[in-house]
Amino acid sequence: MYAFDFERPTTIADAVKALSAEDAQALSGGQTLIPTLKQRLASPSRLVSLTAIPELKGICVADDGALCIGAATSHADVAAEATAYPALAALAGQIGDPAVRNRGTIGGSLANNDPSACYPAAALGSGATIVTDRRKIAADDYFQGMFETALDEGEIITEVRFPVPEKAAYIKFEQPASRFALVGVFVAKYAGGVRVAVTGASEDGVFRWAEAEAALSSDFSAGAIDGLSVGADGMIGDLHGTPEYRAHLVKVLTARAVAAAG
């Protein structure tokens, strides 16, 4: 690891100020960034820890019924406390292992936007709003490809707001070595229609499967997607699975998620 200065501010305002320095980078749970620093794939001059900022932690229900989660809330806390949105709590409880869940945070996961991460599927599948220190970004505009997001330099996620669906489920086909999703599908049924978000499959990162959304919006049953198929074009191919295999999993897991949502 290259050397860097370390700061641990206690307010959002101080964190934003500290991040305005050249080559400064935010540190949340460190469960992605610390391994990255060890490999010297990142070389910030200054790390600004977000873990001592009380405003960034905790879960609450807003007046409009949305579940609001502070960006520095750990996966373990979401698993235990997001009782208003059981599918989201279940997703958080399946990330990595207990020690990773005790440190890793929702803000870090969404900022990183790993193509195989779990939270991006929940945020896109719920039509969540990503709140930053300067604006609100709709999930549909936020994810911009593998490891790419709408965040600007020095911009930090402060909160994520999830509209709570009538029914939802996340099914993760785990890659047993990394514990990430080989493919994961998040299905959520709202009064206005169904959303289906897929992680782990596409070279462009998390995406919505529009045909399945249309079919499930008129008939919310696993059989409703029987006639659909997903193409292998643009799917990830690696030693864990071919593009065809991943495309196949998208449909299988979507059906399972619908069945699990009930």
């Binding site: 610390i34 207990p98 440190r103």
Partner: protein, 160 residues
């Protein structure tokens, strides 16, 4: 360099660290507490698990500066005050829950965190909780038995 202070195994300690100093380096090199092991240094194996404010964390994946003011417990803090092995440690010995012993500090710390949360876990819950603790020797069965035994349950239920 900055100064960090924390409580380790009940004793207040402090030291000078760089920003990049990991908690595991602070414990092993700064405090001489070499019971906490580094198996992979890539956040995968769990040999380095310690408790920070009662929660199991990988000490190779947290900076020492982030444990400022925290209560840290390592394997050296697990024995009973008279030096005899704790229930979990004794169960690992009784049930052959270790062979080379390299993973054992992390296994014991994860087991202790599990039993604090869930005093009577099922075999499946134990296996699930140990997902982030890798053992190259035992094949896990005897580790699972040791944890069942430490929680006062019948070890015969564990699958061979």
């Amino acid at each position: 360099m900055t100064k960090v202070s924390m409580t380790v195994n009940g004793k207040p300690v402090s030291g000078e660290v760089e920003g990049r100093t990991l908690l595991v380096q602070f414990l092993r090199e700064g405090q001489g507490l070499t019971g906490t092991h580094v198996g992979c240094d890539t956040s995968q194996c769990g040999a380095c698990v310690v408790h920070v404010d009662g929660k199991a964390v990988k000490s190779c994946t947290i900076f020492a500066a982030e444990a400022e003011g925290a209560e840290v417990t390592t394997i050296e803090g697990m024995a009973n005050p008279d030096g005899s092995l704790s229930t979990i440690q004794q169960a690992f010995q009784d049930h052959h829950g270790l062979q080379c012993g390299f993973c054992t500090p992390g296994m014991v710390m994860s087991a202790a965190a599990l039993l604090a949360e869930n005093p009577k876990p099922t075999e499946a819950e134990i296996r699930d909780y140990l997902e982030g603790n890798i053992c190259r020797c035992t094949g896990y069965h005897n580790i699972v038995k040791a944890i069942l035994a430490a929680s006062g349950q019948d070890v015969a239920v564990a699958a061979e």
